[in-house]
């Protein structure tokens, strides 16, 4: 499971499950948000990643963030 901004690179290195992230300098946050809003974004992404981990995949899969 890889949370990754540039999903083509995650595909290239062979990640099975890929969740698109926000940006390279801040994959799980955003400088435009307040700390509380940022935490909510981060929590949502981590929850989605944990859910993706429980999905069966039979090929490299990009999940929708």
């Amino acid at each position: 499971m890889q949370i990754c901004t540039i999903t083509s690179i995650a595909l290239a290195v062979g990640a099975n499950r890929i969740l698109p992230a926000a940006a390279i300098p801040y994959p799980l946050g955003s400088p435009d948000l307040s700390p509380n809003q940022e935490k909510a974004v981060r929590r949502k992404l981590v929850d989605q990643a944990l859910a993706a981990l429980q999905c069966h995949v039979d090929k490299q899969t990009i999940f929708n963030a």
Binding site: T5, I6, S8, I9, A12, P20, A23, P25
Partner: protein, 426 residues
Amino acid sequence: MQGEEFPFMKLELRKFTIKDARFGEVTGIEQGTLVINKQELVEFLNRDHSFAGVEVKLARPGEAVRIVHVMDAVQPRLKLSGDATPFPGALGPVEIAGRGQTNVLDGVAVLQTGKRQGIQEGVVDMAGPGADYSIFSRTINVVLLCTPHPATTDVEFDRATRKAALEAAVYLAGPTRPMVPDHVEVFDLGALENQAHNLPRVVYIYHLQSQGLLRETFVYGEHARELLPTILHPNEVLDGAIVSSNYIIACQKNPTYLHLHNPVVLELARRHGRDLIFAGVVIANEHSTLREKERSAKFAAKLAWQLGAQGAVITQEGGGHADTDLMLTCRECEQLGIKTVIMANEIAGAAGDLPSLVDTVPEADAVVTTGNNDELVSLDPVEQVLGGEDIAGVAGPPDAGLTIALGRIYAATNQLGATHLSIRGY
């Protein structure tokens, strides 16, 4: 300005060949020697007390000198018309670059040095085996070391040091104003859009590093990251429209000096009308989100198509996820029927046997490599070190013999192709 003598986008680079440099009482050019009044230059650069200190040193090719913490390189230049500067927008008012007369100190570079937060510094050896790898081992270097006041922020210091390097460049070329150049190169490509030739139309897609502070490029003084890809006339590139503020990975950045001397622009301009039509330069971004990368690539390819391109040369600046910018632009062009050649360096491990790029597309089937960052090179000990007292990440005295990755040597694998090394297969 000069009316008939100078059509709108005709550029004269008036070159003064400089063979040596020394400090002296009056700044000027004496029979090919650049003479610098050091105190006057220091007082000029620090007239607003922006810095705790400014040092100016000289380094000539062949001297046992190592320059460390190299941040940017700029060529001394002077614009002869009006109030324009040779770096419009970045220094002084915005005027369209690429027109009129520009005086150039050929063979000289101003090197800005000093520490920055979280960057990867450049090393230049003026002699020994390290000197084979950087084109700045072959220039006479005026080395600036500006030190910040304790309260100066990174943003303020970056702005001040960039301004100081550009001002030093204009100061050093100042005495050439009344002088006759040794050589004049004229760039008069005519109205590029109206050429009725049967030659193939080629555009240059020029990715500019634009990921944020200290990884930024300025176009007419504004952040490249704010741009949607746009079109420049080749002369604008050669005449100071683009100024670097990118301090990441020393070997693979495009210093201001090399924007002015972009080998791809020079080669396409010189071949314009001979075996191709140089249909224009498209500057594109290198962003830090996938959405912006896709937007930049699609717009760059669309602009190339609008220019009637049959072929495109594409360069990048930097590595890692900048490979994605390169590949997306390549794919978008190929899908529009524009054949591409891309230029990139490699991050392939010390033995050169690891994957060179982190991202690839099948459409990228014509690739020019500018070298492997991870190749190890051995540098001789030197007698003097300029630009700082240590080399980040290297233990021991900075004047010692060193074995370091090519990645540490300034502009060693420059992705515009500004190197002296090539490889030949037998």
